[in-house]
Amino acid sequence: MRDFIERIEKDLPGTFVVADMEAGLEHLSWAGGTLRYVDILLVVVQPTAKVMMTADRTHKLALELGIPRVAFIGNRATGPADVERMEAFAAERGCELLVAIPEDPSVPAADRASRCVLDSAPDCEAVQAIGRLAERLEGMFAPAG
């Protein structure tokens, strides 16, 4: 997996590879680390202590592994206090919170219907937030000039 992620950029330059990892830290702590060759690690967080503890460990391992960039994605924000808490968490680590996805009932509803929320609720707040995330990522990796 690591080899594939390393070589894909040369084979198909400009491709966006989205690697959805397993829960836990194995992909970062295994010898060599599956994720060693990603250009950015996006750590999804929620405004709870348990989730942020895992995110903190993930961030530390990513730095040890030499991943060039780490950023956070806030999820299930129920209001400004949640957003602020997650922004502060990111800032304390010198990272950005790229987006705060609001708590959105369309997401679990799509899950129950075995559908993608992009199909079942294309205009819901969560989908709109992920649209903003896509724009941010495009901006970060746009070719210079």
């Binding site: 989205v18 992909h27 999804v44 993930t58 994605i73 929320v117 989908v127």
Partner: protein, 104 residues
């Protein structure tokens, strides 16, 4: 532009990955979505449906002690052989699936 999506279980990694992959594709990018979970469900989240997701087959060789990409295949060849077309023109790759208990 290789993005790794990580986080504690249940935090929303897979939904975020699925929607992000398709959104990037709709914005004109070539997108490869890789499910690196040994209990995979990205395919279903992306909108393949349960039946479509069940047809995905893993590309990592699971016969050895370490799961490895098949020898001698370039990423392009691997995509041709193991990639599954998904909505909005994305390609879905399934890394591994735990099929046998205790097989490492």
């Amino acid at each position: 532009m290789r993005l790794g999506i990580s986080g504690k279980g249940g935090v929303g990694k897979t939904t975020t990955s699925a929607v992000l992959s398709r959104t990037l594709a709709r914005r004109g990018h070539r997108v490869i979505a890789i499910d690196c979970d040994s209990d995979p469900n990205l395919g279903a989240n992306i909108g393949l449906g349960e039946e479509g997701a069940a047809k995905l087959r893993p590309f990592l060789d699971q016969s050895g002690p370490r799961r490895r990409v098949p020898e001698g295949l370039s990423p392009t060849q691997l995509l041709e052989q193991y990639g599954t077309p998904g909505p909005d023109g994305i390609t879905i790759l399934l890394g591994a699936m735990a099929e046998k208990a205790g097989s490492g």
